[in-house]
């Protein structure tokens, strides 16, 4: 009879009999996805709060993308539970000495803030669309439904006079301003969940929340940069074929110009946050080696021997050093920045992996080790939830949500206005 985690755990040397890798791939994905949420939001705030005007185009994109990622942030948590249908208890009967219990409050606060900000950003669009549909003669059923939805989305605020728009603009700034600390909290507390586990020598450090926030911003910016580039490339292709796209210019030269500009500037911010993230991670590593507490022998064996390839090759070299050089190299191009972003995303994923799985790679006895083998073949509910099907579900959902959201809050709408 298999215990949870037994199917993918190999023990070596002396390990407590009840120890297994109980937190598997979904818990690797959880901080990864929340990190993307927080990072995308911070990127959008660079424009809304700090007035980095050049990022206007990608800021709106990042905001909507962050919103699409948000519901996905809780999916890994739900999927890893042994009783997924009891997950709601965390919201209904939170036990406040637990870091996880804050999830409901932090998550819903953040959700409310992002939703409010998006509403203010798109209110004009809602009103205009609803009005246009109202005045449209001989509407079909779809148009009637769309009119109903867009009218509902205005929440009854139909005033789009310049004075009202000015107020909206202020509100956006305020929401984005409140959003930054909340986004950091959303992710910092994910770091706290790990950092406060005193039983785990690798996790327990007060640096953990800060490291998580920095790597969150890195991964969020990288994903926005990548998806933005892909979407822009698609629009360029449409422009070349002279096919009318849904929104915005069809002027190839302009799309290229906007893309080039946004990507290069975003890449600069990406580098700044990468430096901060790597500095903190290395500080943590050096500090552990220098203080050499009781756990260090076991940790050293994991970091420098057993997981050395994952830590130093996959995470630090391919995930950090390589993209850093790519971004730093003179005359950066959009393509190079996008490829570097792929490596950055991979690097942050490996960092989450090395923290979550690496933290369970040694036994609390400090005499033994555990190895996690990803269940490639799903054979039971456990390996479906915490194997390929579960991972794919979490990976694909944000893009589907983004596609649907884009129907109501189109990310490239601003360009049309500018042209007009």
């Amino acid at each position: 009879m298999l215990v949870h985690g037994e199917i993918w755990t190999t023990k070596e040397y002396f390990v407590y009999p009840n120890e297994y890798v109980t937190w598997a791939i979904q818990i690797v994905l959880y901080p990864y996805v929340t990190g993307l949420v927080a990072g995308a939001f911070v990127l959008s705030s660079l424009y809304h709060v700090f007035g980095v005007k050049q990022l206007k185009d990608i800021a709106r994109f990042a905001l909507v993308f962050s919103f699409a990622l948000l519901p996905v942030a809780m999916m890994p948590l739900q999927l890893h539970l042994q009783h997924p249908f009891r997950g709601i208890e965390v919201l209904m009967t939170p036990h406040f000495t637990s870091a996880i219990s804050a999830f409901g409050i932090v998550f819903s606060t953040y959700f409310a803030i992002v939703a409010t900000e998006i509403w203010f950003v798109y209110r004009k669009h809602f009103v205009e669309t609803a009005t246009a549909l109202k005045n449209k003669p001989d509407k079909g059923m779809i148009d009637s439904i769309r009119q109903l939805i867009f009218s509902a989305l205005t929440l009854g605020a139909w005033d789009i006079s310049p004075a009202a728009m000015e107020k909206d603009h202020k509100a956006i700034g305020i929401m984005a301003g409140i959003g930054i600390p909340v986004a950091c909290f959303l992710h910092g507390y994910a770091g706290f969940i790990f950092g406060s586990v005193k039983a785990n020598a690798l996790w327990m450090t007060p640096l953990m929340p800060v490291i998580f926030i920095m790597s969150a911003v890195v991964s969020g910016i990288a994903l926005c940069l990548l998806v933005y580039t892909i979407v822009m490339e698609g629009r360029k292709r449409l422009a070349k074929l002279k096919k009318p796209g849904t929104y915005g210019y069809q002027d190839l030269k302009h799309i290229r110009g906007v893309e080039d500009h946004e990507v290069k500037l975003t890449a600069k911010f990406l580098m700044i946050f990468m430096i901060l993230a790597i500095t903190l991670e290395l500080l943590d590593l050096v500090f552990r080696g220098y203080t050499a507490m009781k756990s260090w022998d076991a940790l050293r064996a994991v970091i420098y021997q057993r997981d050395a390839f994952k830590v130093f090759v996959l995470q630090y070299t391919i995930g950090n050093l390589l993209p850093f050089i790519m971004l730093l190299w003179p005359r950066i191009t959009v393509k190079r920045a996008a490829i570097a972003s792929v490596f950055v995303l991979f690097g942050v994923f490996m960092m989450r992996w090395n923290v979550v799985i690496g933290g369970q790679a040694f036994s609390s006895t400090f005499h033994g080790f555990m190895e996690y083998h990803f269940p490639w073949v799903p054979v039971n509910a456990e390996t479906i939830k915490e194997g390929w099907p579960g991972v794919l579900l979490v990976a694909v959902t944000p893009f589907i949500l983004f596609y649907i959201l884009n129907k109501f809050v189109p990310v490239f709408i601003g360009e049309k206005e500018e042209k007009a």
């Binding site: 948590l77 539970l81 042994q82 000495t97 586990v197």
Partner: protein, 257 residues
Amino acid sequence: MERRDFIKSAIVVVAGAAVPMSALELMNPRDVLAANPNLKWAFLVDTTKCVGCGMCVKACKTENDIPWTANVSRTWVERYVVTKEGKVWADCPKQARDGFTSPLLDENAAGKISVDPNDIAKGFFVPKLCNQCDNPPCAQVCPVGATYKTPDGPILVDRSWCIGCGYCIQSCPYGARFFHPIYHVADKCTWCYHRIHHGMKTACVGACPFGARQIGNLKDPNDPVTLAVLDSRIGVLKSYFGTKPQAFYIGLSKEVD
């Protein structure tokens, strides 16, 4: 005194007394007893008496419905072998439910290790179980309060409320917690809470042929466990975590943690 004056004064007295009186509380003797229980369970393990027969693990698995073949257990026994060069070997084959029947050490994927008897400086057994900490990290981190500390010591899990997040399993430094293979909720040793409340001993205490395990009440000054805790040289496991374990060990060695 006129009747009218009497009533007036009475109203003043009642109104004036109401405020300070409201600070007083009607006490329920049960509540008082629960808040100041005359029970505080403690466990005493005399490692010098343990021979590694595994009867305690057998008894525990049977008593507490932990599937026999599942590779988890609420209690287990560890074997330590220290060589003359100071190398420490330890193992716990099948949670020691069948006892230690082989001189070979079961090092899991690293295989069976044979240590030359002439190289052995010392060897001993250490029974382990939940420490029912006074500052339990497992109860602290439960996001839904499904695991909680009872007033008399043991920490319990509500099987109908546990969501199975595994946070408590991660937070226990002693590896005392695991997922129950049938109920899929966190499970742990309760010091047989269902038994000790009826005046019985825990299953493992009852099964130990050598008296290596004892359970007692620290609030009872004449309890043998209390006496031993007070006047023997005892240790606890991993005290540096600040968990305040309530399982006390006689004859702990520095290799054990």
